[in-house]
Point group: C2
Amino acid sequence: MRRVSAPRTARARVRAQLTTEIADVARTHLATDGAAALSLRAVARELGMASSAVYRYFPSRDDLLTTLIVDAYDALGDAAERAEAAVARDDLRGRLRAACAAARDWALTHPHEYSLLYGSPVPGYAAPETTIAPAGRVGLLVTGIVADGLASGALTPLPGGADVIEPRALADVGLTDDPTRAALVVAAWSGLFGAIGFELHGHTHNVVSDHAAWFRGVVDTHADALGLP
Amino acid sequence: MRRVSAPRTARARVRAQLTTEIADVARTHLATDGAAALSLRAVARELGMASSAVYRYFPSRDDLLTTLIVDAYDALGDAAERAEAAVARDDLRGRLRAACAAARDWALTHPHEYSLLYGSPVPGYAAPETTIAPAGRVGLLVTGIVADGLASGALTPLPGGADVIEPRALADVGLTDDPTRAALVVAAWSGLFGAIGFELHGHTHNVVSDHAAWFRGVVDTHADALGLP
DNA sequence: CGCCTCGACAGAGCAATGCTCTCGTCGGTT
DNA sequence: AACCGACGAGAGCATTGCTCTGTCGAGGCG
């Protein structure tokens, strides 16, 4: 949420304060009513200010949404990273399980925020540059687990590996010599969020009885595909 | 789209006609502008009628959306079923590949409709009963492939199988004696739409270079997990 | 210490939305 | 032929995002 690092003047300080205050109120509205119902006027009302005053802090509703999106990505990333960090480094499968379970928990506790991130994009909203870095955190986390396995020798590169993954992305995460597994990582990543989305949006209603157990199975299926011991 | 089977009177016929006409215009708006931008008034304008007149045919915007959703589910289901039907019955993996590829193609050609089905639910919109049957068609299709394999002996039931899937759903699709595989089917189903959604919503931007090949890999991973020969 | 500029805010206003209500009108039925 | 009900139009209400104009107060400069 911090917009600028050092609020020098008192003016700037109170401005930063109000900015976060607006974002906080907006976040609660988002959490209770969903993204599409997020009304700038309602936020202003709750803050006791005129709707036009909010525009001094956020040039448009989309900008407000952007900061909420970035915050949500960060919260989700934090949750997953914290859970994953608590597991022994050489327990690759355990790290994946922990990260995935934390992501699911976060999604279940923040359904509307999750939908904002991984559901249909908001109409007329084009994700700006600032969102792409936080968006990759969970993917990076999974990638890191696999990269660790390769580095320690617990995993050996898989054969094949056509040009499905961007070489640039491959190099960034140190998986240049195992592109096949990189593709599997992306598959696991998307499958993970597909499973969470299905549960969240009710597509498994009357089909899955124990969602937690089913999700664990999904994660283990991906762990098997990745060859995690 | 057909609302009632036999329009007896001329009145009923012209009514049915106008009803589908409204839905058709709404569908084009949905296809071009997305679900949230679908405006009842804009549809009425394009049809040259007062906005209030539309309410004689659809009691609310949500009802219009519901018929669009049902139609979209049916179109997606049709596409997948047609593609799958063209493959030799004993080629289980080929059938899965065909169905999945068709689903992806349909999603890429109808992104907004796809988002309406598998993206975040529209705010304040509660999916009525009528949507759940068409929604399950693609899942049923995948299930049918596995069930065929079990019936022909190409597949043998997997061990284990905790109570993760609803017994009722298990019985409905004839997978009572292979609950483990049923859970894998649901996993494949959700993973499939997770992958499509990732591609569609740009989460794999700068990561995946060849989406078609990557998607084939995802499908084959699930086919492997399901044990398809 | 006084002035003055600039940021902050409020309110009115515009175009648009979903939905309701009322009021004519025309078609099909008894 | 009379009538009843479906149909369509128009006005209206509450709401939204966003802009514009005017006013006030606090901070900086002379």
